[in-house]
């Protein structure tokens, strides 16, 4: 009966969206390194820990006030809740139960709840004995009056900061990655201290006229000498003791150098990963951004223009020289291969990225990145560069929305310049938005004053704008002439005066920037006034 109830409850949790959302929320709050919530929570906890330790130090030798006591209780309560939540997040108990239950059902043997509970308990105990959980617990325990003896453990609150400071976490990660080297060093160190202590005791015991009274003195002296600190409170008096001291100082220097080189090399190894993680974390805070794959000549031009537009973007390049160049410009850079699924996923192709620009100088790589991006996100905009004309089709097949050929565009520009230099200047002027003249597509929002209006009623001349055409997917316009099919829409060039605008149409207008912006504002205002906001 109990087993059935537990299994039912496990299924309930599995299907409950409220439970899943709650767990996701707390995961984002406490564990997800890329979450903005966690960032705020970490800052809050750091402040709390520092404040609590400050109050403890302030209280030394004084009777704690009522407010301090209350504050302490609040802090400890928060620590306890945090501890419990982390224990809850550590493993999904209901999943473990269901996994065993379904396995038992499939293999047709009786399901034993006790076995699942044992596994769940083992998992939770694993959490309790994890280093950070121990620190958490030690930060809570001294608050209990019965355990006042543990007050010294308050210092463990400071260790709690390891949880919240990424740099501290990185340091522990570095130490962990060099575990083997550090063990070797520790064994060597232990061996040296053992030999040094024994030797100095033999040479410098009081019977020999030395100052080393017992083995603890010998151990203390060895450690102080090996660390090249040398307080001088115990100094060797005999020639044998001095020889031991000299030998220990030299070996101490070697050990110290070895230790520093291990740490430095570990940091070097981690630096790349640390930078990438930092970039991922930063991207995670952006609501939208563009991924530029390849920081060659085209990539650099695009980055410069996006920077001018204050658009957020990230550069991915596998060449170190390009990465260094982008970094010098102050851009967000990931030094990695953009064709790897993992790199694009971590960058945020499904989490904030609005477009992928494939700009490497190699069409093979561009096709591969395009394919990978399309596979990972069927909706994202992909603009790809084709260096050879024969690869244009392949890029479209791979999923590019637009393909740009540098030599084709340059060829067009040259041909226009030769044939019609003034027309060329006009095109260039419009494209580059020189003299603040631009061409813009303005949307006819539902409810705005444009909806249902005829072109003749709008008086573009008075607004100092030129209407070039209307882009629309609405079939009611099909009867008009000068229609050019473009993908799933039509472009109506120079529409007649009786052309009636419909919601969703786009007006293509030429004009000065503030003329266009003013017209756009009027459209927006009229839409809001009409209670649209739709």
């Amino acid at each position: 009966m109990l087993t059935r109830l537990v299994v039912y409850f496990a299924y309930f949790l599995k299907t409950s969206s409220r439970y899943q959302n709650a767990k996701l929320f707390f995961y984002n709050l406490l564990e997800n390194p890329y979450s903005r919530l966690k960032y705020y929570f970490d800052v809050f906890m750091i402040s709390l820990v520092v404040l609590s330790v400050f109050l403890l130090v302030y209280e030394v030798g004084k009777i704690p006030s009522e407010i301090n006591r209350l504050f302490e209780q609040v802090i400890v309560s928060i620590f306890i809740v945090e501890y419990m939540l982390r224990a809850w997040l550590y493993s999904d108990s209901h999943k473990m139960i269901l996994e065993h239950y379904e396995k038992a059902q499939y293999l047709n043997y009786p399901f034993r709840l006790s076995k699942s509970l044992r596994l769940i308990a083992a998992k939770k105990i694993e959490y309790v004995f994890s280093p950070l959980a121990i620190i958490d617990l030690l930060a809570i325990l001294p608050s209990y009056r019965e355990l006042r003896v543990l007050r010294i453990l308050f210092l463990f609150r400071l260790f709690k900061l390891f949880r919240y400071f990424n740099s501290l976490k990185l340091f522990t990660g570095v130490l962990a990655s060099k575990r083997f080297e550090l063990y070797t060093l520790a064994i060597l160190l232990g061996f040296l201290i053992f030999i040094g202590s024994t030797a100095i005791y033999l040479f410098e015991n009081p019977a020999q006229g030395g100052q080393v009274g017992d083995l603890f003195d010998a151990l203390y002296w060895s450690v102080v000498t090996l660390a090249t600190v040398g307080y001088g409170d115990i100094s060797p008096q005999t020639p044998g003791g001095r020889l031991v001291a000299m030998a220990l100082i030299f070996t101490g220097l070697c050990v110290l150098t070895f230790f520093i080189s291990i740490i430095v090399s570990a940091f070097n190894d981690k630096m790349q990963a640390m930078r990438i993680n930092q970039t991922y974390a930063e991207l995670n805070r952006y609501e939208s951004f563009i991924i530029i794959c390849g920081f060659g000549r085209v990539g650099r031009h695009i980055a410069r223009q996006l920077e001018r537009d204050q658009q957020r973007f990230v550069v991915i390049d596998s060449r170190k020289a390009s990465v260094d160049m982008a970094r010098q410009q102050g851009y967000l850079v990931i030094h990695d291969d953009a064709s790897k699924n993992e790199v694009l996923i971590n960058t945020g192709i499904n989490n904030g990225a609005t477009a992928v620009l494939c700009n490497t100088g190699d069409d093979v790589i561009n096709v591969y990145i395009t394919l990978t991006s399309r596979h990972l996100n069927p909706e994202i905009r992909i603009i790809s560069r084709a260096n050879n004309e024969e690869n244009v089709k392949k890029l479209y097949q791979a999923g590019a929305d637009h393909v740009i050929q540098p030599f084709e565009i340059a060829g067009l520009a040259v041909a226009e310049y030769i044939g019609q230099p003034v027309a060329f200047e006009a095109i260039l002027g419009i494209i580059q938005e020189e003299k603040h003249i631009l061409m813009e597509a303005l949307c006819v929002h539902a409810g705005s004053f444009l909806e249902g209006k005829r072109i003749a009623e709008l008086d573009f001349e008075q607004r100092k704008l030129v209407l070039v055409g209307v882009i629309s997917a609405n079939p009611v316009h099909r009867k008009h002439k000068n229609s050019y099919p473009i993908k799933n829409r039509h472009f109506y060039f120079n529409p007649e005066s009786y052309f009636e605008l419909q919601a969703g149409d786009l007006l293509m207008v030429l004009g000065r920037d503030y003329g266009i912006n003013y017209f756009r504002d009027q459209i927006e205002k009229s839409r809001l006034k009409a209670g649209g906001g739709r």
Binding site: I290, G296, R297, V298, G299, H301, I302, R304, Q305, Q311, N359, R381, I383, R385, N388, I404, Q405, P406, F407, I409, A410, G411, L412, A413, V414, A415, Y417, I418, G419, Q420, P421, V422, A423, A426, I427, G429, I431, Q432, K435, I437, E440, A441, E461, Q462, K464, L465, V466, V468, I471, N482, Y484, F491, F493, N494, L506, M508, L510, G511, R512, G515
Partner: protein
């Protein structure tokens, strides 16, 4: 008919040669190897292989004689600079257009005597940026003006005695009468620069002024005939 000599990169050269009207321009492609020359010749253009470092070889293809326009499309900027200097020393009036690989070389090419520098990568970057920020507009321009549809931007110079002489630009109403949109005017009374016609300033047209219009090829041709019919 103007004579054009095209040097260098075969695919870039073909892009340009294919876009120029063969009735107005006679073009010769000069490759650095037989393979490139054959590729261009297969596309139906006159092609030859010469050493561009040799001035006599340059003269032999008509530089300093009938060649009026020179395209320098080598992949290396140093080759383009060398060809520009050589050609400029032979013919002071030659129009030289060069592409640039490294943006820093643009100034060197200008100093060498080039009239116009084209940076394919910059244009490509701009186009990509345009596609990002104005996707609708760029798609329309790509598909119509630059693409398969017959919308074009054209320039029309007003000849002496044309009916447009002394007419005000605002009275033309090209959109109503000719299905064309007047984009800009080079009003030589004011300056040699293009002025966009967006109703800000009145332009009185004179002979020698240039109109820039957007519209279907047929309408442009008819309007051009009408303007030039003195």
């Amino acid at each position: 008919m103007k004579r054009i000599a095209v040097f260098g990169h075969s695919s870039m050269s073909l892009q340009v040669m294919n876009r120029l009207n063969p009735e107005l321009y006679s073009m010769i492609y000069i490759g650095t190897n037989e393979l490139d020359a054959d590729l261009v010749a297969e596309a139906g253009f006159e092609a030859a292989v010469i050493d561009f470092r040799n001035d006599d070889a340059l003269r032999s293809i008509g530089i300093g004689d009938d060649v009026e326009i020179l395209f320098c499309f080598f992949a290396k900027d140093s080759d383009n600079v060398f060809l520009t200097i050589s050609a400029r020393s032979i013919d002071k009036d030659l129009t030289i257009i060069a592409i640039v690989d490294d943006p820093d070389s643009a100034a060197k090419l200008m100093a060498a005597g080039a009239n116009k520098i084209i940076d394919p990568y910059e244009i490509c970057g701009r186009r990509t940026h345009q596609l990002l920020i104005k996707p609708d507009l760029t798609t329309i321009l790509d598909e119509t003006v630059f693409g398969r549809h017959d919308l074009h931007i054209a320039q029309i110079e007003i000849p002496e005695g044309s009916w447009l002489d002394q007419r005000k630009a605002s009275t033309l109403k090209l959109n109503e009468k000719h299905n064309l949109i007047l984009i800009g005017v080079v009003d030589k009374e004011l300056s040699e620069d293009l002025q966009f016609v967006i109703g800000e300033k009145e332009h009185t047209l004179d002979a020698g002024d240039v109109l820039v219009v957007l519209g279907p090829a047929r309408e442009i041709r008819l309007f051009k005939e009408e303007v030039e019919n003195v």
